[in-house]
């Protein structure tokens, strides 16, 4: 934008002092901007530095004066301890997240397709009614939910959490798919209908194969939010049968004397799956974030 301003201004500059002033201001502005960008980069990465450095420290580095220093002796003890403590809960997290993401994505794609394509009267109202479920503070359903889960006889821990992540995932998956199907060319779907296929057939044989990119976005979103969930986990599981967030919170707060080395190594273990997804599939991750803003 600055470059364009200069181009516009150029013809008007006098002969004696053509461009140096604006050019030096231009480079100064650029330098300032890069300085600011790098400053914020460093600030955002501070917790990462702390996490890594502390996780490699032994007891010899306990003095507060060495808080920000590199370890005197690098040790993997904290990592080993954290892994032993968290490994079972990481497996349980996988057991919760994978089925719930797949089921919620499938339901969301059914809803999204119907709501985006078959405009019947009240489709918008139905959509809004579903969407509201995305915004409610779950505290407002927790007490009766507890009773309902008991009445249904579903064991706490993994089974309950799968159910809850499916149910409360429906609004956001519906939203993302509805926005996604709105971008699929009408002709593709119409072609199927002309052949006399019903709605279910159309969905199954034409729409579903077209939905792969939508599924990638939704699955990543559901995976991340279910993996990082703590609220449902703390109400409906314990560190014996719960996901990694609960186990990590217990590990970090359980001992009387806090061992930061172990809890930070544990925090990294707990974050690795979602971080990997973010690094490898970043584009789709951002796609999910954008869809979360209702208007897409």
């Amino acid at each position: 934008m600055t470059a364009a301003t200069n181009q516009l201004a150029a013809p008007r500059t006098t002969v004696s002092r053509p461009r140096p002033t604006s050019k030096s201001r231009y480079t100064l502005g650029r330098t300032l901007k890069y300085a600011a960008l790098i400053f914020f980069l460093v600030v955002v990465l501070i917790p990462v530095y702390v996490l890594l450095v502390t996780s490699f420290k032994g007891t010899g580095d306990a003095d507060p004066s060495r808080a920000w220093a590199l370890p005197q002796i690098w040790t993997l003890d904290n990592w080993a301890t954290a892994w032993t403590a968290l490994a079972p809960s990481i497996l349980r997290s996988v057991a919760v997240v994978v089925p719930s993401a797949i089921i919620a994505a499938f339901l969301g794609s059914l809803n999204g397709f119907v709501l985006a394509r078959w405009s019947f009267r009240g489709a918008n109202i139905v959509f809004t009614v579903i969407l509201f479920g995305m915004f409610i503070p779950y505290q407002a359903v927790m007490i009766p939910l507890n009773q309902l889960v008991l009445d249904l006889g579903i064991p706490t821990g993994v089974p309950t959490l799968i159910l809850l992540h499916v149910v409360y995932g429906i609004p956001i998956t519906t939203l993302i798919f509805r926005n996604y199907y709105a971008t699929v060319p009408h002709e593709l779907i119409e072609a199927g209908r002309v052949d006399g296929a019903g709605m279910l057939r159309t969905y199954w044989s034409i729409v579903l194969p077209l939905s792969i990119p939508g599924f990638v976005v939704v699955l990543i979103w559901q995976f991340t939010s279910a993996w990082n969930d703590f609220l449902f986990a703390v109400f409906f599981s314990s560190s014996q049968n719960g996901p990694v967030t609960v186990a990590l919170n217990n590990l970090a707060n359980g001992a009387l004397l806090q061992n930061y080395g172990v809890s930070m190594a544990g925090a990294l273990f707990a974050s690795l799956p979602t971080l990997l997804v973010y690094i490898v599939l970043g584009k789709y991750f951002v796609g999910g974030l954008m869809s979360g803003s209702v208007k897409g």
Partner: protein, 300 residues
Amino acid sequence: MLKKLRRLGPPLLMLTPSLILVGVFVYGLIAANFSTSFTDNHTAAQATGQEPAAFVWFTNYFDLLASEDFQHSLMNLVLYTLVFLAGTMVMGFLWAWMLDKPVKGEGLFRSVYLFPMAVSFIASGVVWRWLLNSNQDEQASGLNRLFQMVGLDFLQNNWWNNVTFGIIAIAVPAIWQLSGYVMALFLAGFRGIPDELREAARVDGASEWKLYRYVLFPQLSPVALSALIIIGHMSLKAFDLIMSISKPANYQTKVPAVDMYVFKSSFDYANAAAVGSILLIIVALVIVPYLIRTNREEKR
């Protein structure tokens, strides 16, 4: 009639499972929660159904709102939300504004600014608990030690241990975590503005400030509103961070979501339900008009 059924049947069939689930788990449970909040279900015996609970109308709500303890929680929630909103909006806008124009290494900056979003509040809370250590001077570690090292000693403070403003310390990690999200929203907003608009404004001789004030800001306002709504309702997630950083029993940093957890843990279901309903009402006051507005705009 048959024709109508054929036309409407399949779509309704496809929606049915979700409608039943949302109907029961969202609307049914909200109703049940209100009904519990109108009872005197305050003990474990009542919670497990061994003793009956009586209907007391709004007593729990009045008692809660009158108690200084709960007022402190509400005040904390307001403070937290304000700081969290202001922080993420300012940082997010600033980053998006800097990255909107061509920048070398844009991808790197964007990815790093956004990455905290992929981490759980519980995991980041472990690190932030260390960073927000309230010890000072000789005993300082965490950010207080860092301030000393860079010669900013006066910035040392006791973070979340301050009774009135401790909650603001909890907003710091939340801002760290979600500014990147607001940046991504604003970046998409900036990129969605057609170049012709900027060019036209410049040809008309608009100054940089006027370009922003009259051309870009109005174009960005829907994005800003979305960001405000999403971040605003996320401020209820302070729960995770507080559980991880300062513990539920900590008076300084408690918010209604934490009270709800504490009530539930002590089998005071009526008060837990009442707190939940109060949170729902606060959120609904903001969200329902927003949803209706979005709905109306789409019809146009």
